[in-house]
């Protein structure tokens, strides 16, 4: 039986960021990681998803620099080490654009929102 929800997946994710942690879901049936947050597992159809806290370490899967009148900025797809992929931005003091394969870590101070979440490179490319 699939019970009623007291709180939405989006709210749990947002509360995690506000508290300084990057949360994702893992399926209790097939064991695979799930992102973006939802009510059921897209891999196996189970409704048994449990929240976990990500170490925030990952690898750039693809990346683009968006040229904008108000300044260039990065958008990247990051493959997290726990086995899920998310879109975010890579922003740091290292010279040059992020590249596919760069190792990155999430920057999640308390008070983070989806809009302020970013990643930074952990080694020189």
């Amino acid at each position: 039986m699939i019970g009623n929800l007291e709180v939405s997946p989006a709210a749990v994710y947002g509360e995690g960021l506000a508290a300084g942690s990057l949360r994702y879901q893992r399926c209790g049936s097939c064991g695979r990681a799930v992102f973006y947050p939802r009510v059921g597992c897209p891999h196996c159809g189970s409704a048994h998803l449990a929240w976990e806290t990500s170490a925030g370490s990952g690898t750039v899967y693809s990346t683009t620099t968006i040229r904008s009148r108000s300044g260039d900025y990065n958008v990247a797809l990051i493959d997290l080490d726990e086995g899920y992929r998310m879109m975010c931005t890579v922003r740091d003091d290292i010279a040059g654009d992020p590249r596919i394969g760069d190792r990155v870590v999430a920057v999640v101070p308390p008070g983070t929102t989806a809009e302020t979440l970013s990643f930074r490179r952990t080694e020189q490319p």
Partner: protein, 384 residues
């Protein structure tokens, strides 16, 4: 034994509305309606003979309701399935099912958009994925840029190779009356164009124009009595694996892999049978991706395949023979125009851009961010 859906319906009418920049005040519905009436004229039937309506637009959430009312059609079969630019080839598949089941006999598939007159902004009734929109990707170009960057990383595809797609499209457009962009274009020009979202420049991106298109299909049995050369629908397939780019399993393999296999299986054909190809070239990267996934070349070899004029006029595989979304027209959801150009090539008589002796055309329509794929194989009467 051939597939029971193979060739049971045929395209009997195909037309475009006014294209490019249309008269002030025209609406998307006006353009869809105008294209529909021209398609009925082309078929030599009255629009009220249509009893099945298939319509998707960006402007109207209930597109089928809008267009049927506008044209005074009271359909007994109505399908407003919206797969973005793949909608209309998907509609073709659904029309086969509906007509085979006897749920309608004569189906209109139509589209219209005033995207250029509206200021170029992509109108969409589609809610954003909040886990992506927070990072301000420029929709949809940044999503295709991510795919292009990954293809370059995995296979060594170059910006020059992608640019050759835009150059080939322009060469075709220069042979096509009414094409939107016809100034000469070189690879150097593309590389020097303004970067929008690396590695894609503005010249790697489709046009923004106004326009509508429509086709009319009916049973092949009835089509034989109508005025146009028979264009049987030999095979259609559709597939989608994701909506948001972050959910695409691999950025270098699209669901055209599945839609293509399904269409070829229904048609009982192989890539070697295809004479002319119309692919949805929203961005230059689409063309190598689809040629790979459809089996025209091996995965990863698309960049080399599209180079050196192979897909340009005079090349061995004619692709996007009107100049495509890159140079001919691109009013938001281009898929219907692929069908119209394929029909024109198969009927013959398109002038300087005519592919001599074209008997089989492949159409690959793409929706959203490489999300929905629909493949159609159309033939001449001799292919039945």
């Amino acid at each position: 034994m051939s597939d029971p859906s193979r060739g049971v319906i045929s395209i009997v009418g195909a037309a475009e509305s006014d294209l490019g920049r249309v008269a002030d005040g025209l609406t998307s519905l006006d353009l869809a309606g105008q294209a529909a009436l021209r398609a009925a004229d082309d078929a030599g039937i009255g629009i009220h003979e249509v009893d099945g309506i298939f319509c998707a637009t960006s402007h109207y959430a209930m597109s089928g309701l809008e267009l049927a009312e506008y044209l005074g059609i009271r359909p007994r079969y109505s399908d407003s399935n919206n797969l973005g630019g793949a909608s209309f080839v998907s509609h073709l598949l659904h029309a086969i099912a509906a007509i085979r089941a006897g749920l309608c006999t004569t189906a209109l598939i139509a589209y219209g958009s005033t995207q250029l007159s509206d200021g170029g902004k992509l109108v969409t009734a589609s809610a954003p994925n909040l886990y992506e929109s927070a990072y301000r990707p420029r929709y949809p170009v940044s999503m295709y840029a991510l795919a292009a960057a990954r293809h370059m990383h995995e296979f060594g595809t170059t910006r020059e190779q992608l640019a050759s797609v835009a150059v080939a499209a322009r060469e075709w457009a220069r042979l096509t009356p009414g094409a939107f962009s016809t100034e000469p274009l070189t690879i150097v020009d593309v590389l020097a164009s303004r970067m929008v979202s690396d590695p894609l420049t503005v010249a790697d991106c489709c046009l923004v124009t106004d326009g509508g298109g429509a086709i009319i299909v009916t049973t092949t049995e009835r089509a034989r009595d109508l005025r146009q050369p028979l264009i049987p629908v030999l095979g259609v397939g559709e597939a989608h694996w994701h909506r948001s780019i972050s959910q695409m399993p691999s950025l270098t393999t699209t669901a055209a892999l599945d839609s293509g296999v399904r269409a070829f299986a229904m048609a009982g054909l192989d890539v070697a049978d295809v004479d002319v190809v119309e692919l949805y070239d929203a961005f230059t990267i689409n063309v190598p991706l689809f040629l790979e996934d459809l089996g025209f070349c091996a995965k990863g070899e698309g960049g080399a395949f599209v180079s050196e004029g192979r897909i340009a006029p005079g090349g061995t595989l004619p692709v996007n023979t009107n100049g495509g979304g890159l140079s001919y027209a691109h009013p938001g959801m281009y898929g219907i125009f692929l069908l119209v150009e394929a029909v024109r090539q198969l009927r013959g008589g398109t002038g300087a851009r005519q592919v001599a002796g074209a008997e089989v055309a492949l159409v690959q329509a793409n929706g959203a961010v490489l999300s929905a794929q629909a493949t159609a194989l159309l033939g001449s009467a001799g292919t039945l």
